[in-house]
């Protein structure tokens, strides 16, 4: 394997593709799952709300690295079932751990956003004869989206960089590729080169969120 600039760039890009896929799929699944957990923990049915809060406590209270180990290794060790076998097994395991972890963080942001809407609005909607679901969909949701945009952008940017943790179960994301192929052979500069990949990616995300905030800034006095 070559160690010239071009071939290193190409092989790092391959790792970065895995990083981006992990990032994209995690967002895709954890955003809706987070909403489900948020509704669960706000539920009037106490056991459900306790269960959701317990899950959030455990997931937020333990390191993501540990969760990756648990998801990938524990099913095979304790129950002798190989859930994550095959070529993409490691990636799927990492995805599951990331989705659960991020859904829990998102659920708390959602909950904060939803609970910040004044009670009066629900009462007004009720007076107008709107159902609960109607109220949420037409009155509450978009206000919540506006309010949580800033904390969400924070989490999303953290997620970009957290993907590098997937290397602990040997997922071939960009840092793992670098560690195995270059760092282990004494090449240090690719490590800093990787920093540029992330910087550009996060830069694009920052612009995107700024655009969204501007878009959603109607009704602001």
């Amino acid at each position: 394997m070559g160690t010239d600039f071009l071939s290193i760039t190409l092989s790092l890009l391959e790792g970065f593709e895995t990083t981006c896929t992990l990032f994209g799929l995690t967002l895709l699944f954890s955003l809706p799952l987070g909403l489900v957990i948020a509704f669960g923990s706000m539920s009037k049915f106490k056991p459900l709300s306790w269960l959701c809060r317990l899950v959030v406590w455990v997931i937020r209270g333990t390191p993501l690295m540990l969760q990756l180990f648990v998801v990938f290794y524990v099913p095979g060790m304790l129950f002798h079932v190989r859930i994550f076998s095959g070529e993409d097994g490691r990636f799927t395991a990492a995805l599951v751990a990331f989705v659960i972890n991020y859904a829990c963080y998102f659920s708390e942001i959602y909950r904060g956003g939803i609970e910040s809407i004044p009670k009066g609005q629900y009462e007004a909607a009720q007076v107008l004869g709107m159902s609960k679901w109607q109220t949420f969909r037409t009155v509450i949701l978009m206000q919540v989206v506006k309010r949580i945009l800033a904390p969400m952008s924070n989490e999303v940017i953290t997620l970009v960089k957290d993907t590098s943790l997937a290397r602990v179960i040997a997922v071939a994301e960009i840092f793992f590729v670098n560690e195995m192929d270059y760092l282990s052979r004494g090449l240090v500069w690719p490590l800093f080169y990787i920093g540029a990949f992330f910087l550009i990616f996060v830069g694009v995300l920052t612009l995107l969120f700024r655009f969204l905030e501007k878009k959603l800034s109607y009704y602001k006095i």
Binding site: M1, G2, K46, P47, W50, F69, F72, Y73, V74, P75, G76, M77, L78, F79, H80, R82, F84, S85, G89, R90, V168, I169, A170, A172, E179, M180, D181, L183, S184, R185, G186, L187
Partner: protein, 277 residues
């Protein structure tokens, strides 16, 4: 309210009890071969280094262990797959079933004073090896006897056979810097962070003094005596796959296939004689 709490608590306790029960029981691996045959392949856990498992110029995985594993797979009528793992997680990988064999110049012996047979079942030993001390070429004049190494800083692969050798030479565990791979230990040495590294002789012969490690040399101090050791393949404890692999190794040795592969990588004099006898 209280009843609900009681129900919830009992559910938690039941889950907890089942978990602890299953974790206590000895796992049964005697059906490994049937499973491997069904899925049509076995997975070898490797780290990348010459001459065992490494990538050639075309980006293909080659090496003595690579071709050896492929030959064994051929004999057994299945396919060999290779998974790059973190060496420190090798037993976790093996026991969780994400790999089936630890096959990467795996020394038959002890790790941190604990025999590796506690964690794995070994197949026949197939290749002779030693640990070897690597230093920077410019230090060759000063680091020329065992005594010179006392109190020096060393780099090793964590959990490797070289770790205990380095500890013996430096005389103090605090002097050891432990890394993920043997290659990382060499990198540390060539970067000047430590005074010596202890790695496998087979790897040192292939990598030291060339390419990125041109400034390094193998220490030839005659009073450093290191016990010879052998490589074997690690399988899950109690697995019936071990016997199958042994059967394949014996057949390949008898037919001379193994000798051919060894010759290709310049290892023909290091093969264990009368393999499997």
């Amino acid at each position: 309210m209280k009843k609900l709490l009681a129900v919830l608590l009992s559910i938690v306790m039941i889950i907890g009890a089942t978990l602890s029960f299953t974790s206590c029981g000895e796992t049964d691996n005697s059906g490994d071969w049937a499973e491997i045959k069904e899925r049509g392949y076995f997975v070898c856990g490797i780290t990348v280094y010459a001459p065992m498992n490494y990538f050639n110029e075309d980006g293909d995985l080659v090496g003595f262990d690579t071709e050896f594993a492929e030959a064994v797979a051929d004999y057994l009528g299945v396919e060999a797959k290779f998974q790059v793992i973190k060496w420190g997680s090798k037993y976790l990988e093996l026991n969780s079933g994400s790999i089936d064999l630890i096959w990467n110049g795996f020394t038959y012996g002890a790790e941190d004073g604990v025999p590796r047979t506690n964690y794995v079942d070994f197949t026949h030993a197939y290749l002779k090896n030693e640990q070897c001390v690597v230093i920077r070429s410019e230090d060759a004049a000063t680091l020329n006897a065992k005594a010179a190494f006392a109190g020096r800083e060393a780099a090793v692969e964590g959990g490797s056979a070289g770790e205990s050798v380095a500890k013996g030479l430096a005389g103090n565990e605090d002097k050891l810097a432990k890394f993920d791979s043997q290659a990382a230990a060499l990198t540390e040495l060539s970067a000047g962070q430590v005074d010596f590294a202890v790695i496998d002789l087979q790897m040192a012969k292939a990598m030291v003094g060339t390419g990125d490690y041109a400034g390094l040399t193998i220490c030839t101090a005659s009073d450093i005596v290191i016990e010879p050791e052998v490589y074997a393949i690690g399988a899950r404890k109690g697995s019936d796959f071990t016997a199958k692999v042994n059967e394949a190794i014996e057949a390949l040795y008898e037919d001379g296939v193994l000798q051919e592969i060894a010759k290709k990588y310049g290892l023909e004099y290091d093969l264990v004689e009368d393999l499997g006898k």
